[in-house]
């Protein structure tokens, strides 16, 4: 048996046994939905329906309804895309990288974080489809035989790389998440008393019985998937950053982009996981599984990645000066002191200053403070992408082309669409699927629960 040092705080509190884990998590699925859940789902559906309305008009009329102009050709669409993809990095990071690093605290949060990843990547994908304008021709981005002779896609283009990266990331994350769900779905199947849920969860659980041979293969599969997902998750945001970095626009054409984007993605992803988990924890009474210890660890990751992002901002500025390229220098001076300085300083405050508060353990372990900072971080990360995209574009080389970007109702509505979609999916997930990976939590109970901590002490 593995003995955990008494210095390590327990990861499962409240004297829970494996049977309690099953009961506590399955209770949410088997019981009737609460009023609070219906209320939350209604709000999400309202947001979604408003979004579907504006999106329908965007498709019918074309993206001319957005506030884009000849100078600012990318604005909220790509900002939202990068923002959502960034958020979508936390899930796979938690389940893959933390699995390879053998961090046991991942077990309580990986399921919900992975679900969030999938929904966030779907939201990101929706902006890619939207910004194409003629969405029905989206398959032109794929190397499919066509009647133009076949005229193939340009594999030298980062936009084509993006198509491959995002779709691979989405499908591999989906598989990773689902493989993790199978044993838990079998648990729900065995507990189901009514025939319809039993049949549905029975089909979803793929006839899992948990035999030693299956577990042995299952563990191999999880480990290899984690090993494959780790470089994948890093490659995805690297490739997203190539969309900018391989161009010749001052402010975009920098080699620091890949690591800086990846750090920012982890930063915003963890913040979103915290926002969602703190709400889920309170509504489903999961305080014994998602403890202050988990929140503390996640806040430390936010602090670290937030600091990396802060250093990247400063480095960019320094390199702009050091390069001696006056266009590059102007792009950065314009960011900080030009017409969009308010966006720049919002970004700086939210992303660089707010996570520094997490140096204090009192703030890291304060739920209200964590919740507020997690939202501030995501506001900051949205502005980061907005600043990078719009401020680099809006003052073109020729001053007669200089322009500002003003969002329209459809810019806002299409953004609201993604929120509606994201939260609708998340609430449905939270009701019908286990929000905590039961099998993995049970596996750490013997070594990392409160009971053990007490035994070791005495």
């Amino acid at each position: 048996m593995q003995v955990t040092s008494s210095v390590r705080p327990p990861l499962v509190t409240g004297g829970k046994t494996a049977h309690d884990v099953t009961n506590d998590i399955c209770k949410q699925i088997e019981g009737k939905p609460t009023k609070l859940w219906f209320f939350a789902l209604t709000i999400s559906l309202l947001l979604l329906s408003f979004g579907v309305y504006t999106l329908a008009i965007t498709w019918w009329e074309g993206i001319g309804v957005w506030g884009l102009n000849k100078t600012v050709g990318w604005a909220w669409d790509i900002t939202n895309f990068v923002w959502w993809v960034g958020i979508g990095h936390a899930g796979t990071l938690i389940s893959a990288i933390l699995l390879l690093f053998r961090q046991k605290w991942r077990t309580s949060i990986n399921r919900a974080a992975e679900a969030m990843t999938i929904f966030a990547v779907l939201c990101a994908g929706s902006f890619i489809l939207m910004h194409m304008g003629r969405t029905w021709l989206a398959h032109w981005a794929l190397p499919l035989p066509n009647t133009y002779g076949s005229l193939w896609v340009n594999f030298n283009s980062p936009l084509v790389w993006d198509v491959f990266a995002i779709s691979t990331y989405l499908s591999v994350s989906l598989v990773f998440w689902y493989i993790g769900l199978i044993p838990d779905l079998a648990t729900i199947r065995e507990r189901a008393t009514k025939p319809i849920p039993r049949a549905i969860y029975g089909a979803l659980s793929f006839g899992w019985v948990g035999s030693a041979k299956h577990w042995s293969r299952y563990e191999t599969v999880s480990l290899i998937l984690a090993g494959l997902s780790t470089p994948l998750v890093l490659s995805v945001h690297t490739i997203v950053s190539f969309d900018f970095a391989t161009s010749v626009i001052p402010g975009w054409h920098t080699t620091i982009f890949p690591p800086y984007f990846v750090a920012g993605a982890i930063f915003s992803g963890f913040a979103m996981v915290l926002t969602l988990m703190l709400v889920t924890r309170a509504t489903f009474n999961l305080q014994d599984y998602i403890t202050l210890e988990h929140i503390d660890s996640m806040n430390k990751v936010i602090m670290l990645t937030g600091s990396i992002v802060g250093i990247a901002y400063i480095t960019e500025f320094f390199i702009a000066w050091y390069s001696g390229v006056e266009y590059e220098q102007y792009a950065f001076i314009n960011r900080a002191f030009g017409p969009y300085s308010w966006a720049y300083w919002t970004m700086m405050t939210c992303n660089v200053i707010s996570p520094q508060l997490f140096w204090f353990s009192k703030i890291r372990r304060n739920i209200a403070a964590t919740f507020i900072i997690s939202i501030i971080v995501n506001i900051g990360m949205w502005f980061e992408r907005f600043v990078i995209i719009v401020t680099s574009l809006h003052r073109d080389y020729i001053p007669s082309s200089w322009a500002m970007f003003y969002p329209t109702l459809y810019d806002v509505g299409d953004y609201i669409f993604s929120f509606g979609f994201f939260f609708t999916c998340f609430f449905l997930f939270a009701k019908f699927l286990p929000v905590i990976n039961m099998a993995e939590v049970k596996a750490i109970i013997k070594s990392s629960s409160e009971n053990v901590a007490q035994k070791v002490k005495h």
């Binding site: 002779g149 980062p158 491959f164 648990t187 089909a203 019985v209 577990w215």
Partner: protein, 176 residues
């Protein structure tokens, strides 16, 4: 996969360490263990049960290699031979710009190929009825199953051994 049929003795354990120590003792008595079921993986159980290391890693590698070759062939053929395009006067087939797509397809094929193989070899599918010896094996109990037809000892003798090794209950289950 062979159909599960016959009379089985189902030993229920409530601790993974107990069942881990019990398995070699039971095997030493000459009892053939049919299968062990658990709610989460018991580390080291594959060694005591004599389960060979999974070859899925090799499958994953082969699928990944297929992805790499497929991606490189596709890109070189499309842009180098089928329709070479002049893009800014650059080389038709620059290898470095083919790396991202090659990497993504490698990961995609490796993951899907490995998971598909896993589902097929483990006979996991959304239809068909799984044989569950004890529903508690997906909750918090560890189940050790012995097939009576494959063992020379009588049911009572095996049952006594299982109980002696820490099983909290032993049930007889007939599967038609």
């Amino acid at each position: 996969m062979a159909k599960i049929q016959g009379d089985f003795l189902v030993g229920v354990f409530d601790d993974d360490d107990v069942i881990m120590h019990a398995i070699p003792e039971i095997r030493e008595k000459g009892i053939k263990i049919f299968e062990v079921y658990s709610p989460y993986p018991i580390h080291g159980v594959d060694d005591v049960l004599g389960i060979k290391r999974s070859r899925l890693t090799k499958a994953a590698f082969m699928f990944g290699l297929t992805g790499t070759i497929l991606a490189l062939t596709m890109q070189f053929w499309m842009l180098g031979f089928d329709w070479p395009m002049n893009i800014g006067g650059k080389a038709h087939t620059p290898f470095p710009t083919f790396v991202p797509v090659t990497f993504e397809l490698t990961v995609l094929l490796a993951s899907f190929g490995m998971v598909g193989t896993f589902l097929v070899v483990s006979d996991l599918k959304p239809y068909g009825k799984p044989v569950v010896f004890d529903p508690r094996s997906t909750d918090d109990k560890f189940i050790l199953v012995v097939e009576l037809q494959k063992n020379k000892m009588s049911a009572d003798e095996i049952s006594a051994v299982l109980k002696q090794q820490g099983a909290i209950e032993v049930n007889l289950k007939t599967i038609a």
